[in-house]
Amino acid sequence: MQGGAAGLAYRGRTASIGFAHGPFVRVDAGAAGERVAGTLVEEALALRNAIDVASGQIADLAASAGGEAAQILEFQVALLEDEDLIEAIFASVGEGRPADIAWRSTLDAHIADYNSAPDDYLKARSSDLADLRDRVVHILRGDEGQPLKVPSGGVVCADDLPPSRFLEIDWSGGGGLALLRGSPTSHVAMLARARGIPMVVQLGSIPDVGTTALLDGEGATLELDPNAEQVRTFEKRRDSHLKSRASARAILRRPTASWRGERIKLFINIQRVEDLEHADAQYADGIGLMRTEFLLTERGGLPDEETQFQAYDAVLRWADRRPVTIRTFDAGGDKPVPGFTVDGEANPFLGVRGLRLCLARPEIFAVQLRALARAAVRGNLKVMFPMVTSADELEAGRKLFADVVQRLQADGIAAMLPELGIMVEVPAAALAIASFKTSFFSIGSNDLAQYVLACDRSNGALAPLMDPLHPAVLELIARTAEHGRRAAISVSLCGDMAGDPRCLPALLNCGLRELSVNASALAQIKQTIDRLSSGGGLG
C-alpha cells in the first residue's frame, strides 16, 4: 500500500512521560478562509468585537481550567488589554488595512521577534502569541467555535498545539499528544505534564495516514498502525511504567539509596537555575553538575561577574548545606558562543573547547572565577574544569583561580578557593588519572564514550556503534573509580549513562557510588538501585 504507515515508528523528544494507545487524530491549523473587508469603520468595529469575543472565550477557558492553565492564559488576556499593542493595530486599520491582515501582521512581527531570541523560554512563548493570533483571526473570519473533536483516548498529532486548543480537548478519557515541532519547555508541555497526558515533541515529518497510534512518552516514540507484536511490547512497557511509578514515588522519599550495604549518593544535573523547580529536585543529595553555558547565551553578550554570582548564589542557597558542583564554561565543540569560541575549526570536537578555551581567553575566564570565588564562601561549593587532557592544564586553571582569590581578598571582598576537580572525558585523562591532583573527579560519560569509540554522538548513522557499555568505556570508568577508591578521592558520573537504568548494574559493578542525573530521572534511578540491591532485575 502506497504511503502506508503500518508498523512505522518515529522518535522525538519527551515532553511529558506516560503512555497512550488510541485512534490517531491528525489536527491541522484551520484552513485560511477568505474574508471580504468592509469600510474603515466596519473593520475597526469588527476588530473591537473580535477582541472582546476572544477575551471572553479565554476568560471562560481559564475559569474552567483553573490553576496553572489559568495563569498561562492570563498572559493572553494581558496582551488583549495592552493598549500600546492594540492601538497600533487599530491605527493600521485606520490606514486602510483589513482587520484580519492588520492583526495578523502585527502579531506575526512579535512572534518573529520572540523566535529570534537566543532564549528557549522566550521562544516557547511565541506559541502563546500564535494561539492568540489564530483565535482572533478565526473570529474575524467567522470560522471559530468548532472545538476540536477528539475521540476519547485519541493520540492527537499536530504541527504544534497552542495551550488554548489543548484545553478545548476533553482529556478525561486519556489520550496523548504528538507534535511534529513543539518544545518540552512550552506552555502546552507544562499543561500536559500537569494533567499527566503523555506528550512527545519534535517528531519531524510523519505520514497523514495512520488510524491507530502508540505513543510512548518515556521512550519518546510514536508508532502508527502497530502490528500485534508492537502492541504487546508497548503494553509491557506501559504496565511496568505504571507499576514502577507508584513505587518509585515512595522510594524517592527515602533519605538514602544503598546497594549491597553501601551508600549510593544521587545528585542532579541542572542546565539553568529554574531546573531546581522540578518537584523531585528536593530529594537529591546535592547538585552533581551545574552547567554554566546558559549564562553565555543570554542577551547582551557575555555575562558580568554580578550576574554570574547571583546565579551561583541562588543555587547554593537552594542547596543549603548540600554540595553543589559547578562546571566552568564548557563552550566550543557543538556549543559555539559568539565572541568567545574559535570560528572555523575543521574539527571543533577536537579543538579549542572546555578548559582549553578558558585558558586561551583568561580575561573571560577570570570573570567566572571571580564570581565562583565569591560564591564559595556562601555554601558547599565545588568547581570542576571540563575537557582536561593534562595535569598542566589543571594547574594553570588552579593558578588563575588562586590569583583571583588573592586579589579579591586584597580588596577586602569575601572569597575563597573552593574544592577543585576535573571532568574525566578525555581518554588520556582517564588513562593517566593518577597524575591529577584534585579533590574529586566527575566522569563525563557522553564525551568519554564519543572519544573512546571515535563516534560523533550526533551522527545517527553511528548509533549502533555508539554503545556506552562497550568494554573499553567501562574499563576507563572502572580504572577511574578504582583510583578514587585507593586515593580516597570521590568519583561521580554525570553523563546520560547515569540516568539510564540499563547502564546502572555496569556502573555499580565498575565501583561507582555517586551518580548525577536529571531531576526527572531521579525517582526511576533510585528505584532501580533499590531493585538491584534487593537482588531483583531491572524490571
Binding site: Q71, D82, D84, L85, H110, R299, T307
Partner: protein, 100 residues
Amino acid sequence: MLDRADGQIFTGNVRLVHAVGMHARPAVKLTKLAKKFQAQISVRVAGAPEWINAKSVAKIMAMRAAHGSTIEIKASGSDAEAAVAALVDLIASDFPDGAP
C-alpha cells in the same frame, strides 16, 4: 508651565532576581500593578536607550530583561511616588504569588 504641581518625576532602581528574567508571569504581574496607577510609568533595563511603557505587556516581554539585570523605573503624575515604590517592591520581592 506651572499648571501641574505634580509634574515631578520619581525614579527607582531594582535588581531583577527572578530566576528566568522578565518572562510571561512576571511581565503580567508588573503591567497589572502598573495599570492600578494613574501615573505615566516607564521602565528600562539599566542603560538601555529606550524607555518602555510599564503598562504594555508586549513591550515588557520584548525588553527581554535577563535574570540579574537592573531595572530602572521612572514615573510622573499624581501617584507617581507610590507607583515607583510599589513596582520596586514587586520586583525586589520576586513577584510573589497573589501580588498584585
